[in-house]
């Protein structure tokens, strides 16, 4: 809820300011954090829809916001400018330490969900072509048609990176689509493999299969609440409130919630409320 003027005193700092970035999953998770904190009796001011990681980090460091959900992979690559780390624990340990040292920002308990890049296919194609891992796909690529978005072909941890790291991945056909239409190509039989994020809603709703990154190319992207140290001092109960909630956010849960917002057009606030009730 937009905080009315009388309680909108970020000057007096009596409400904790929770932010999100500008995509669905960030909204949902931030809303989960916000509602959990409100249920614990805190006043929350929402500053959602921030334009980028840079904006969110700048706001955190200036003390404009107190808490927001961030991904270990994003923190590593886009904030700390370090190479990706595939192992979830190692990635978390690194970002956690460096954020505390450099920015006095604290990472709380991460969620099991790992919103990393992925390749996905239908259950029938996975069965008939015997694809379970990325290595399988790398080898079988010349017989496969690939559906993706433009960005994936350009980014270093996209197709070029896969080809370099795994070898192979020379697809018979590559077609780029709008991000909203990409999965349709797969479902309508016009492609065999699609690039994805492992928590995309479609994975749950369309019963897709995510192929395992067996050689650990991609970075871990676990989400956790990142908090300003000053805010933790002010409200020491935050970890107690958010840790149990974070632990329940699995890949499956995330997929379901994302689908609910994007496909069913449900308000993220309602989706978050639903999640917290369970």
């Amino acid at each position: 809820m937009a905080a009315p003027l009388l309680t909108n005193c970020s000057l007096s700092g009596s409400a904790i300011r929770v932010a999100s970035k500008n995509f669905t999953e960030s909204f949902v998770i931030a809303e989960i954090y916000a509602q959990a904190l409100e249920a614990a009796g805190m006043r929350v001011e929402r500053l959602f829809n921030l334009g980028s990681t840079q904006i969110a980090m700048a706001a955190m460091r200036r003390g404009n916001i107190d808490l927001y959900p961030e991904y270990t992979g994003t923190a590593l690559i886009d904030v700390l400018h370090l190479p990706p780390i595939a192992d979830s624990r190692a990635a978390y340990a690194t970002v956690s330490r460096l954020f505390k040292e450099r920015y006095d920002l604290i990472w709380l308990t991460p969620a099991p969900m790992n919103d990393s890049q992925a390749l996905a296919t239908t259950q029938s194609i996975a069965a008939s072509k015997q694809l379970t891992t990325l290595s399988d796909v790398a080898r079988a690529a010349p017989a496969l048609r690939f559906a993706t978005i433009q960005e994936f072909l350009a980014r270093p941890d996209g197709l070029p990176g896969l080809q370099h790291f795994y070898g192979g991945f020379r697809f018979a056909e590559i077609r780029t689509y709008d991000i909203a239409l990409k999965y349709r190509a797969l479902l309508e039989g016009r492609a065999d493999i699609a690039s994805a994020f492992s928590t995309d809603g479609e994975i749950a709703t369309d019963s897709l299969v995510v192929l395992r990154d067996d050689r650990h190319f991609w970075s871990a992207y676990n989400v956790a609440p990142v908090v300003r140290a000053a805010a933790l001092d002010r409200w020491p109960e935050i970890p107690r409130v958010l840790d149990p909630v974070s632990r329940r956010i699995t890949d499956r849960a995330a997929q379901t919630m994302n689908a609910s917002v994007e496909k069913d057009q449900t308000d993220p606030a309602d989706v978050a409320a639903e999640f917290l009730k369970r």
């Binding site: 905080a3 909108n8 669905t24 909204f27 929402r46 959602f48 917002v261 057009q265 308000d267």
Partner: protein
């Protein structure tokens, strides 16, 4: 497409925040604009410079000004509030100046001759007659500000703009529509309300109200 009917309280809460934002900004804007307008009315040679400058500021794209203000003030209520105060200056100062300049010179001569101090001339003669024009200016400014205030949803969660920008990010057209309709309805309601105020501030010739 019926977010309004499925989430009436959320929309109402955001609408209330929107109204508070615009009302607060208007009040503070008047604190600056009224003296500015009076000054411009008193100095006809300087007036074009003052109003011209304010007009030029008004043409600055709102998003650009907002970006600068976010740099200065951070996210949230303050940058959009300041932006609104700045934008409102032009319309408000201009209507104050027009209202005061439009007063018959003979009345001012008679007022001085009757022994009113400059402050009394302002309070007893000029301001009451400039008031309907000023209220008209407030009305126009309020409507413009209701629109500009939707940018509050872009920089930190205030007002009906939240629905619009969230709807864009989440690909939920129903939210966008709800936010836009609510903002329009708000503008219409404010316009109607201020027209009533304007009318009651304009006295009728026979003294009946």
């Amino acid at each position: 497409m019926n977010y309004l009917s499925s989430h009436p309280w959320r929309v109402a809460a955001l609408a209330l925040g929107h109204v508070e934002l615009v009302a607060a900004a208007l009040a503070v804007a008047l604190l600056f604009a009224v003296p500015l307008g009076i000054y411009a009315a008193r100095r006809p040679r300087v007036a074009p410079w003052i109003l011209g400058t304010l007009g030029a500021i008004y043409t600055i794209p709102s998003l650009a000004l907002l970006a600068v203000l976010v740099e200065a003030f951070g996210l949230g209520f303050l940058p959009i509030f300041v932006a609104l105060v700045v934008y409102a200056q032009f319309m408000l100062a201009r209507s104050v100046a027009a209202g005061i300049a439009g007063i018959d010179r003979a009345q001012l001569d008679a007022a001085r001759g009757a022994g009113m101090s400059p402050g009394q001339v302002l309070l007893r003669v000029e301001f009451p007659q400039a008031l309907p024009v000023l209220i008209g200016g407030v009305r126009v400014a309020a409507i413009a500000m209701i629109a500009i205030a939707t940018l509050g949803g872009y920089v930190g969660g205030v007002g009906l703009g939240v629905l619009i920008f969230n709807g864009l990010t989440l690909h939920q057209p129903a939210m966008i529509v709800a936010g836009s309709i609510a903002a329009s309805l708000l503008a219409i309601a404010v316009d109607a309300a201020l027209r009533l105020v304007e009318r009651s501030a304009t006295p009728s010739p026979t003294g009946a109200r």
